[in-house]
């Protein structure tokens, strides 16, 4: 309305905005398509490689229901579950990081920094070292730890509403507490047990069960649908609380709901694979630099996360022969340099990032 009050004819301005919007949307679509293609290629390679190498054609026929008995066992029984878990975990971490970073307006505010991962880790390490648990029980402990920390952060940070920076600082304080507890347990336990706890602490896709796969998938679908429903409000909250309130968003409940969804995403992923280092932190910044914008970039972040985890797991399994490295080691070694390169490049082209 107010645009019409100005002296100049507004049509040109509006047209310009529309053109720019369309260009942005096209760029997002193109990048998403490229990432999807890369994911598909990676997936086929992941299904091909292993002790028994399967030709790409045979991979496709096996997936479509044909193939020999051996191929069916290796691909459908072993490699597909691991691939699916990697895709889901990566996408969940990518989404969780993107939501936290844009909701809290701080690039450091990813679940691996504000205590969610550390809470999960402390619970899991306690389960491994003190209770001697393994497998699915550890996953449940981790989920419980993540939710507990998230609840603590929310309760402790809730005063005059859940404000972003207070949430993050309380989270970081709890992260350090959990870290101290982990350090204490690691120094007090047998060094062999400490090493197996360490494997969990970096994150690994090595042991996938079908129950784990189902529970992760169900959790992920529910959370993604919920996120899709609230994502317009996330976009408005990014403009600042006052602006969002002006646009009709009820700021405090909206923040709380979005936070809970992001916590859920991080908790589900961490329970399934451990706190795969750095995926949540790195995905959104990479996505944002690919897109050249500052929005939450949810879809692209999820794709980047899936790509980082899948690619890293491929390297983790096959780069060093006779040694299966946990995927979390490789995500750091692979994902971080990508971000560093993007940073260096954007600095050269623009002077400042």
């Amino acid at each position: 309305m107010s645009v019409l009050d100005h002296g100049r004819p507004p049509a040109d301005d509006l047209a310009l905005v529309a053109v720019a919007r369309r260009a942005g949307r096209i760029r997002t679509l193109v990048i998403a398509a490229v990432l999807l293609a890369a994911l598909a290629a990676l997936a086929i390679v992941a299904l091909m490689l292993g002790d028994r190498v399967v030709a790409p054609g045979d991979v496709l026929t096996t997936l479509l229901g044909g193939g020999s008995g051996g191929d069916r066992f290796v691909i459908l029984g072993l490699r597909v579950p691991r691939l699916l878990l990697g895709l889901m975990v990566g996408a969940a971490f990518g989404l969780a990081g993107a939501v936290f970073q844009s909701l809290l307006g701080n690039p450091l505010a990813s679940p691996d920094i504000i205590g969610i991962s550390q809470g999960a880790s402390a619970a899991a390490v306690a389960a491994i070292l003190l209770a001697g648990w393994s497998g699915l029980a550890v996953s449940f402990a981790a989920f419980g730890g993540a939710v507990l920390v998230a609840g603590l952060i929310t309760v402790l940070a809730a005063r005059h509403g859940v404000a972003g920076s207070r949430f993050v600082l309380v989270g970081i304080a709890l992260a350090f507490l959990a870290q101290a507890v982990i350090g204490y347990m690691l120094t007090r336990s047998d060094v062999r047990d400490a090493q197996s706890a360490l494997v969990w602490l970096v994150g690994s896709l090595g042991t996938v069960t079908s129950e784990e796969l189902t529970s992760t998938a169900v959790g992920l679908v529910v959370l993604v649908v919920a996120l899709a429903a609230v994502s317009p409000r996330l976009r408005m909250l990014q403009l600042g609380d006052e602006a969002a309130a002006g646009l009709g968003v009820r700021v405090t409940p909206a923040r709380l709901v979005i936070t809970l969804i992001a916590v859920g995403l991080a908790a589900v992923a961490t329970a399934a694979a451990g706190p795969v280092v750095f995926v949540a932190f790195v995905s959104a910044p990479i996505a944002r630099r690919l897109l050249g914008g500052t929005g939450p970039a949810l879809v692209v972040s999820a794709l980047v996360g899936a790509l980082v985890v899948t690619g890293s797991d491929l390297i983790a399994q096959h780069a060093v022969s006779n040694l299966q490295v946990p995927v979390g080691i490789v995500t750091g070694i692979v994902g971080a340099p990508v971000l560093l390169l993007l940073l260096a490049r954007s600095n050269r082209s623009r002077g400042t990032a």
Binding site: N106, P107, L108, A109, I113, L156, A157, R159, H160, A163, G164, S165, R166, V168, L169, V170, I172, A173, L174, F176, L177, Q179, A180, G183, Y184, L186, T187, V191, R192, A194, Q195, L198, V199, L201, V202, V277, F278, F281, V282, P285, V325, P326, G328, I329, V330, T331, G332, I333, A336, P337, L339, L340, L343, A344, N347, R348, R350, G351, T352, A353
Partner: protein, 336 residues
């Protein structure tokens, strides 16, 4: 009148902090699994006569760890304040520049591949690793006009992640290294060589002096790069100088006590609560507070479950986290 009162409060507060440091030092010398009375402590420190068991405990065990705690704590507090001013990010920790991860990777390498076993042998590895990592972060984050806060933050965290991955890779393949490294990595003041303080003194002094002189520059940086430039600041230069000071301070502290994470984060937050946003005072106060925090944490660690000890790095987090949470809850300014 108002400014005068504020100035007086700040000076008196600083003096009070120094008293707290003195009390902490006293407690650190007196308390432990064996309680030693004041006379014996004074005797141990000041007399040149023959030494009994108690005097030996004080001189050989408690004085070194107290000195190292003071120095490392002061350096970390100062570096943390500098780091938060530099990146304009209240979440920044001196470890963010990759300093801790660089030092840790170098120490792991020293243990695993060079067979270094004594903590005193770690110093130059730790210092060199810290300096290399921080230089890499600066190089990546710097454009034509010097690094921006956002790119420094991201580059620091990314570098930390790469280095941490390599550390874990080595630890997973090498049980003996894990056995040694896990004790260094929690951050502790036990069994460190006090002569390293003298070795690192040049870096510590230069780093601290530089940091304290940067207060005014950080104040104008806080207003944004453009405003700072308008005020006649050379923003890029300030960032480089501050970076070097951080490397000197953190590199030294990490060499002395291992990668202590929490001190540098929490100390500036506590200080800000009392002195406001003026970095000249934040930097000045952060030194004694950091020193006191670390020495007190170390002393408490000795008392929790005698005769065994809990490492200072763990106790710092146990005390510091609730303090930080209480501060954040009480402070409306943090929330904008």
């Amino acid at each position: 009148m108002l400014t005068f009162t504020r100035l007086a409060t700040r000076i008196l507060g600083f003096i009070a902090l120094l008293v707290v440091v003195l009390l902490a030092v006293g407690a650190s010398l007196l308390l432990g699994s064996r309680s030693i009375d004041v006379a014996a402590v004074l005797d141990a420190v000041f007399s040149r006569g023959t030494k009994g068991v108690e005097q030996m405990v004080v001189l050989d065990l408690r004085v070194p760890r107290t000195v190292i705690g003071l120095v490392a704590g002061a350096a970390l507090g100062l570096a943390g304040a500098l780091m938060q001013g530099l990146t304009r990010n209240p979440l920044a920790d001196p470890g963010l520049l990759g300093v801790n991860a660089g030092a840790s990777l170098a120490v792991v390498t020293a243990i695993a591949f060079f067979g270094v076993t004594a903590p005193s042998g770690y110093i130059w590895f730790a210092f060199g690793g810290a300096a290399l990592a921080a230089t890499l972060v600066y190089a990546v984050a710097s454009g034509r006009t010097g690094p921006s806060p956002l790119s420094l933050t991201l580059a620091g965290a990314a570098t930390t992640a790469v280095l941490t991955s390599f550390i874990t890779l080595i630890l997973l393949r090498d049980l003996d290294t894990l056995a040694q490294y896990r004790f260094w990595s929690v951050g502790s003041l036990v069994g460190r060589d006090v002569s390293t303080v003298a070795t690192l003194a040049p870096f510590l002094v230069v780093g601290a002096a530089t940091a304290l002189l940067l207060g005014r520059s950080l104040n104008s940086l806080a207003l944004g790069d453009d405003v700072a430039r308008g005020l006649g600041q050379r923003v890029g230069l300030t960032r480089i100088v501050a970076g070097v000071a951080i490397i000197f301070l953190c590199g030294s502290a990490t060499s002395l006590a291992g990668p202590l994470v929490f001190v540098g984060l929490v100390v500036p937050h506590i200080v800000r609560r009392f002195v406001g946003a003026d970095y000249r005072w934040i930097l000045l106060w952060s030194m004694p507070l950091g020193a006191a925090l670390l020495v007190i944490a170390d002393t408490i660690g000795r008392l929790i479950s005698p005769p065994s000890e809990v490492e200072a790095g763990i106790v710092v987090a146990l005390i510091g986290a609730p303090v930080l949470i209480a501060l954040v809850r009480g402070n409306k300014a943090v929330t904008r």
